[in-house]
Each structure stands twice: as C-alpha cells, then as structure tokens.
C-alpha cells in the first residue's frame, strides 16, 4: 500500500515541471508576437497584439461593450450553448439507444441519419436565422443540430456494443427486459456517451457563436462579428478569449461528471490524461 502511495508521489513531483514549461511556452509565444508587432515586423493593424487584446478585454470588463455589459453578452451565448447542449444530448442519447437496441428502427433510419450527417450542417445556421429570427432560438437550433449527431453516433455504437455475455448473465440472474436495459444497456452505453460530451460541448459553443456571427442582436459572436467589421483584430481575439474561458470551465465540469460516472473504469495512464 505504502509502496503505491510512494510511487504516486514520485510521479506527481516528477511531473511538476510540466505546468512550468507550459506557462513558459505561452509567454514566449505571446512575447514573440508582441515583439514582432513592436518592431513593426508584422502590421498591428491587421494582426493586432497581445497588449491590444488585453486593453480591449479590460475595456469590456470595466466599461461594457457596444451591446451592453460583457457579462450580459457572455450569458446570452452561454444560455444558447447550454440549452443547445442539453437538448442535443438528450435527443442524441434517446435516438442512439432506440436505433441501437431496436433492429427494425435501425434498418429504416440508418440511411436517413447517414445522409443527414453528410450535410455540412453549419450552413443550416443561415436557414435557422430565416426560420427563427435573430433571437436566441436560431442559435439554439444550430447548437442542437451540431451536438445531436456527435452524441447520436456514440450512443448508437455504445448501445450496439453491449457485451452479449453480460446481458445473458443478467437475464439468468433474473433480470426482466427493463432491468436488463437499466442495469446493463444504460451503464454500458454511458461510457460511450460520456466520451462524446467533451466534443459535443465544443460543438455547442461553436453552434451558438457561429449562429451569432450569421445574425444576432446580442452575444459574443456578435461582438466578434462587429470587431471584424471594424477591422479590429484585438476585438476578435478578446471575443475568442472569453469564449475559450467558457469552454474550459465547462470542460472542467464534464471531467468531474466523467470521474463520478465512470468510477468503475480503470484509469488509463496515458500522457494525454495530464493535458
């Protein structure tokens, strides 16, 4: 037992240099950029600068944006993202489970789903603006569509991948159809679904922001679009920074959820896990 703890400690201290190097690398990159702008190696007019981005961001935080306070804009985008994510995940999971476990449904609908998946869905944003107007509904719709397919394919694959032996075992232990579904199919599919949530959340943000770029009255995407129209690269970067912060925080929550729901899975010791 103590040997295991010792090993963990050693790997923990052994990896302490990683964040330091990561931070250093970021500072070097930003520094090089700032230097290139200051020495006029690249044009600040087109490329902006880290200092300019920070000034813009600080201005938004202190004095608000043209649209109103920054928090107001971020909250609009976050709402669109969360609603789109929630509805998209729910629909994707239900459709995936249904088609994964009911053979005739899969036979009928697989062709449709495959074809719809081949459509470049981001273009639907233009259609949704016409249908649902400049408000939140059109952005939510785009986020739902993007999230749905990602979650659906994972959930479908997971529902089909359930170990036949474990199902047989459950049946012989006395499980009826509902118990087999609840105690075997659902938890087995969950690990596939959770794997898709990370990507799905990124797509939900993409849907919301792209929807706002196409046409909106509020939101971070609108801020970015206006900065672009004013040829203000620093404003575009500042918008991106706020969006990224939202995404990173959300990813942290998903990681917590993953830990909680997948406690039963062996932890993989991969370098990717440290990132």
């Amino acid at each position: 037992m103590s040997a295991v703890t010792g090993q963990r400690l050693r790997t923990a201290t052994g990896r302490a240099w990683v964040p330091a190097v990561q931070l250093g690398l970021l500072l070097v990159l930003l520094g090089a950029w700032q230097l290139a702008v200051s020495t006029r190696s690249i044009s600040v007019f087109f490329f902006g600068s880290p200092a300019g981005t920070w000034r813009e961001l600080y201005g938004w935080i202190r004095h608000g944006t043209v649209q109103g306070s920054l928090w107001q804009q971020a909250w609009v985008t976050l709402q669109e993202t969360l609603i789109g994510f929630g509805v998209g995940v729910a629909c994707g999971v239900l459709a995936g489970l249904a088609l994964g476990r009911i053979t005739w449904l899969a036979r009928v609908f697989t062709l449709y789903v495959g074809t719809l998946n081949a459509v470049p869905r981001i273009v639907l944003g233009s259609v949704f603006v016409i249908w649902f107007g400049l408000g939140m509904a059109s952005k939510v719709a785009l986020a739902i569509v993007l999230v749905f397919f990602t979650v659906f394919f994972n959930s479908f694959q997971g529902a089909r991948d359930v170990d036949a032996n474990v199902i047989a075992n459950a049946r012989l232990l006395g499980a009826g159809r509902w118990s087999v579904f609840r105690h075997v199919v659902l938890p087995s599919t969950f690990s596939w679904i959770i794997a898709s949530l990370r990507v799905a959340f990124g797509l939900a943000i993409t849907g919301a922001v792209v929807g706002e770029l196409i046409g909106a009255t509020q939101g971070l995407g609108l801020l970015i679009a206006q900065s672009q129209a004013n040829i203000d690269p620093d404003g575009v970067y500042a918008g991106l920074v706020v969006t990224t912060v939202l995404a990173v925080v959300a990813e942290g929550f998903i990681t917590l959820l993953e830990r909680r729901l997948l406690r039963w899975k062996p932890r993989r010791q991969t370098p990717a896990a440290a990132v």
Binding site: N169, A170, R171, G176, S188, W264
Partner: protein, 281 residues
Amino acid sequence: MRASAVSPETPPAPTGPPLLGLRALTKRFTDPAGRERTVVADFELEVAPGEFCVLIGPSGCGKSTVLSMVAGLEQPSAGEVLVDKVPLAGTDPRTGFVFQQDAVFPWKTVLANVAAGPRFRGVGRREAARQAGDWITRVGLEGFEQHYPHQLSGGMRKRVALAQTFVNRPGLLLMDEPFSALDAQTRQIMAGELLALWESLGASVLFVTHDLEEAIALADRVVVLTARPAAVKREFVIDLPRPRAPREIRFLPRFAQLHEEIWTALSDEVHTAYAQATAAG
C-alpha cells in the same frame, strides 16, 4: 457435514435440485457461406437430482451450445430440454449459470454485483445486501465489497461470479468452462472451493470443460462427447470418495486409472476435431 455450513436464514429451496433431461436435442445453424451446419445432433442426457455431471469434449465440439440451450439462452432446432419432466421455455429461475468469460457487471461494486440477482428477483435492498454480504464472505472476498471488478484479479472476479450465481440458490447449476481463463494453480484452488460450495448447496450440476483432470476431480459422472456435431460418445462413473480435495485426489491410483480409460475414449475425438479444424482453416 458440509450442509451445516448453510446459514439458517437462507433455507434451501422448497423443492430439491431438479432432474434434468435432454431429449434428442439438436442445433443447426446456417454458416456465412449459406451451408447448414449441425452443431449438436440428437443429444440425449439425464442428470439426476444433485448429481455433478461433467461434459468433456474437444474444443469447438458444441459443448457450449448444449449448455446455452439448457440455460434457455438459445432455442434448440429440434428436441427438448426437460426440467423435472417439464419442457423448458426460455430461462428458468432455478437455473444458475457461470460463464467462461467475465460476465460480472463491470460498473457495479462487488456487493452490488452479488446483490443483483436477489434485486432482480424482487428482494428488498437491505435484505439483498445482507444475502450478498453473506456470500461474499463464503467465497472469501470480505473487505472487497466496495471494489470494482477491474480492481480484482481474475480468480477474485471468478469468485464474484460464483457468489453472484450461488446467492440465487440455483437448483440447477450450469458452468461453461468457468475456470479456463485462470492459471493452473488458481484453477485448482477454485475447483476445490466450487466443490465445497456445491456440497453445501446440493444443486444438480452440468459442467463443461476440455480439461480431463478437472473433469475427474469434480464429477460424479464424466460424459465424453464426440467431435462436431456434439453427441454423447461414452459415460464414465467417477467412483472417487467425497468430500474431495481436487489437489490431492490426483495422486490416487484410481484417478490415474480413470484418466487412462477416459483419455482413450477422448483422444480419438480430439484428433477428429483437430483434423476438422485444420481442414476448415
């Protein structure tokens, strides 16, 4: 003597272990090339109440298919399975099944795994946990109740599978090469523990293996199967004394004698199966 180990709170099933009859049991299926293959042909067998019957045959002869049909997991193409003279329809609540591969629920703790059977059968949460705890102790896993299967060794996971099956107090116990994935030492230990559990439970057992030593050490009767399609070739009564310790019984002269007799019957089928496999490959 061992029967006294049964805890008084869990009385044995009202009816004793059932009589199992397999009548002209046949299984055919169509292979990917469209040809019809007979895997099990006119299989006839009777297992007496409380008897430990071992089916032994070459790998791939259709032993597991016989067991799947007895479990009600697969439908026979012809013939029938009789449990206490009543034809089987689907899975039967008296049946317990231990699989070759891991079939425990990886997302449930040891306790929840063992309690699953009683829970599926409508036993209350608290009572199911109590019964599960009892069986976890009996298979020697106390202290591991809150572990997940991936945190256990192969032998320990097999103990979970045994407890999970035994907690339902099956009258008919079906085992499909349950210990074949374990290393040789663990396999012998598990065979000994299985015998002790079975002696206290008193179930009719149909146990499939391709390991002859394991078969003789466990069985009241060893049934040698033919190469595919599986049918009964010969039966051997194992007249070794009980209770047995599988690790020591191998050194009895009678054990060696039985081994020799059965191997003579088995080896032809092993050679035939090998020829079939190489011809197919």
